[in-house]
Amino acid sequence: MMADKPQDRSLSRRKLFQGLGAVAITAAVLPQCVQSDSSQSAAKEYKPTFFTQNEWTFIQAATARLIPHDELGHGALEAGVPEFIDRQMNSEYARGALWYMQAPFQPDAPSTLGYQLRLVPRDIYRLGIKAANQYVQQIHHKSFDQLSADLQDLMLKDFESGHAQFNDVPSKTFFSFLLQNTREGFFSDPVHGGNKGLVGWTLIGFPGARADFMDWVDRNEAYPLPPVSINGQRG
């Protein structure tokens, strides 16, 4: 990938230091070292309350591939996506409290009829990470975080396509939750623990909670103001 080229390292490093807050700077390391170094610094800042250390290592390594740190700047790790997901695991969403969860379950119903498993997101992560680690161990005799970026991507593609056979949760289902929650952590308001430094919104030009565009409605021009969060942080 492009960020591994030497000239891109300096570029991304320079971009990192431009206009980004203290949180982001702690993660400003060379792309090759991002996974291990950042996970160490992030671990110091945030202690997971749901994920075990093993699971936490997987979440950090996997989300760093789903939204990588590259020449366009920060990725999932710098945005605090692992923290976001861990915090979400303690929400009513992750406990399935807003879903209809009465039996009988029909896990083989057509996919057009929607989610039909008896697992809630907490179960999907717990069982999914365990199965993912077993799958990687069997093939590569290493844990996921010890693989090169390219091999990690290949493993994630096996989960995404459902090619990887997991016992208790379909690998495709596990991957879809991981990807969806990773995007949420990159793009939702920092009040939920992700999108630190508003890096997700800055990347795409979303102005966040500004929520008043009366004088820009009919202008075919780029919106000029940087994003702002619910708590008043600016990107």
Partner: protein
């Protein structure tokens, strides 16, 4: 032992738009009105407070204002021989819950109706011959005309503070004015008795570019009627609204700015002041109680917030819940004969219909600034050249029509970013994709009408129960040939407009032959039918005043009364029919309670 409360004149079950309108109009007539809402109390000051209300994760993604499925949902199957599965996680449709119902979190697209859609079967039969209606299609006439409803459309717009451009008022064409960025009224719309209460809103860059492309092809673009205010407004009830500032947090949110019409902003503040009105949230109605001869309702039984079962006696019962809950309440209470698709008998549950959507995304270079975060839920530019029967149906092979539009309602980063084909879903290429395309994508919709069929219907599920032990409603529903044909025709026409905008590329989301109803991805929450109105008690559950044919003191307003789906969004017609029904109760029923037909 069920506790019995003091009798009231009217009990309203469900406090969304229909419930709020009925409650206000009947309380204004001097009746004592009790409204029961299964969900929690909701208001702008609490649920719409800036800036915590501007939070995509909490509202759009975790769906805070929508139905909590853990307590009740529906089950769904595609055909009559399948086993239904519960709708366990919200997807294709998002019913409301709580005070304001879906009227609190809707977008604000506020149409009337194309007059021919109120007499769809008669119109098609007269113009094209009965053979144009395919076997198994069960479209009917509403039994009420546009002319009869016009005063109520007019009043509802004044209550909602609707912004728009009229085409003709009292026979005079007024809407053919084109000013910079504005496209005037809808050439195809029927006559009106007055202008919109507010002028049309500004138009986004996306809508303007699309409108110009549509015009270049000879179509007739117009400003969409929007229940988002173009200026400050006070409605006939004395409720006040502030000007919409295009914040883009409409659908799925309680408008922090008092700019989007809702029962909470436009009706409840006035209703609260009336001593003869009482609103009881968190009261879950189990059934409508009937007299021994089953000809009248005696009141309703509900579970109060403590969990106690109570009986509320009433002279008149208004069932004004979400579309499918109205049908379920009738089935649970034994009001009307349940529909059986095998014998084609019965009426409650028949003619369940939806919306036949397709979407095209057009992707542009960085010189086109769609700024998709700017938006208002009801705002946009539309054409009706392919809506209703505004084009010749004799050779197209389907029944129905579709408005097209760019309705930029505020695109959010978690749920709203669409990418051209070929860009992966994650990794650096995805990241580059979202950076390149988020601000430079224009989305347009065919908002097609959906017809009713003998095999698409609602009944009670034999297996699944809600949190109170009552059977869930079961939907038996799938797309039919007519739907697929229409969808493909509309996509072809809209694709021409998309190409006329000269995008880098487009992506199309439409229906293919063999596609089944997909409950996972959001389509619309515009569900219709199941407790339909009409002129014949053999083929409809309600008469033309929304009164039950069988139990004369039960009235059932809502989209459940539509015999088939409209091209437009349903809220405008729901509101007008509710006013029509309420005024008939006031003017006729109260003087002589009994069947109105």
């Amino acid at each position: 032992m069920v506790a019995s409360l003091k009798k009231t004149n009217v009990v309203v079950v469900g406090f969304g738009w229909a419930g709020a309108i009925m409650a206000k109009e009947l309380a204004d007539a001097g009746l004592n009105v009790v409204a029961l809402e299964r969900g929690v109390m909701r208001d702008t000051a609490t649920d719409g407070a800036y800036p915590t209300s501007i939070d995509e994760l909490t509202y759009n993604v975790r769906k805070k204002l929508f139905l909590n499925l853990s307590r009740e949902t529906v089950s769904i199957r595609h055909t009559i021989t399948d086993t239904a599965s519960p709708y366990r996680v919200l997807g294709a449709f998002l019913p409301g819950e709580g005070v304001g119902g879906a009227g609190l979190h809707w977008s604000g697209v506020h149409f009337r109706v194309d007059p021919i859609e109120l007499r769809l079967k008669s119109h098609y039969t007269e113009k094209y011959g009965a053979q144009i209606i395919p076997n198994g299609m069960t479209i009917q006439d509403f039994g009420v005309s546009y002319e009869e409803l016009e005063p109520y459309f007019d009043f509802a717009e004044k209550v909602f503070g609707t912004s728009g451009s009229a085409w003709s008022v009292k026979g005079q064409v007024v809407g053919n004015q084109r000013i910079e960025g504005s496209f005037g009224g809808n050439f195809f719309s029927p006559d009106r008795s007055s202008e919109f209460p507010l002028a049309a809103q500004k138009n986004t860059v996306s809508a303007q570019l699309w409108g110009k492309a549509a015009e270049s092809l000879g179509y007739h673009p117009y400003n969409m009627p929007s229940a988002n205010t173009s200026g400050p407004y006070t409605n006939p009830y004395g409720c006040q609204m502030g000007p919409c500032n295009f914040c883009g947090f409409c659908s799925g949110y309680a408008c922090y700015n008092y700019s989007k019409a809702s029962p909470n902003v436009n009706i409840l503040p006035a209703l609260r002041l009336l001593p003869n009105f009482e609103l009881r949230p968190q009261c879950h109605v189990l059934k409508v109680n009937l007299s021994e001869d089953k000809k009248t309702a005696t009141g309703v039984t509900y579970i109060d917030p403590k969990g106690q079962e109570v009986f509320q006696p009433a002279d008149i019962v208004i069932i004004s819940m979400f579309q499918f809950n109205n049908v379920r309440m009738m089935l649970l209470s034994g009001i009307g004969q349940p529909y059986d698709p095998v014998t084609n008998t019965g009426v409650v549950g028949k003619n369940f219909a939806y919306q036949n959507m397709a979407t095209i995304k057009a992707y542009f270079d960085k010189d086109v600034h769609a700024n998709p975060f700017i938006g208002a839920g009801g705002n946009g530019i539309a054409i009706d050249d392919f809506n209703a029967d505004n084009f010749d149906h004799s050779q197209v092979g389907f029944v129905g029509g579709s408005p097209f539009w760019v309705n930029q309602a505020g695109v959010k980063p978690v749920s709203g970013i669409s990418l051209p084909a070929g860009i992966p879903a994650w990794g650096s290429a995805w990241k580059k994709g979202v950076a390149d395309y988020y601000a430079h994508t224009i989305s347009m919709d065919c908002h097609g009408a959906h017809q009713s069929y003998r095999d698409n219907y609602l009944d009670l599920d034999p297996t699944y129960r809600d949190a109170y032990g009552q059977p869930l409603l079961r939907m038996t529903f799938d797309w039919q040939d007519n739907d697929i044909k229409m969808n493909q025709f509309m996509v072809g026409k809209m694709q021409g407009i998309a190409q006329a905008m000269n995008p880098k590329s487009i992506s199309i989301s439409g229906k293919k032959v063999g596609d089944h109803f997909d409950t996972v991805s959001y389509q619309t929450t515009h569900m219709n039918g199941g407790a339909i109105m009409g002129t014949d008690r053999q083929t409809s559950a309600l008469n033309r005043y929304l009164q039950s044919w069988d139990v004369h003191n039960v009235f059932v307003p809502g989209a459940s009364a539509f015999p088939q789906g409209l091209g437009y969004n349903p809220t405008g017609l729901i509101a007008a029919l509710s006013y029509w029904s309420a005024h008939t109760i006031r003017d006729k029923y109260l003087k002589n309670p009994g069947p109105l037909v």
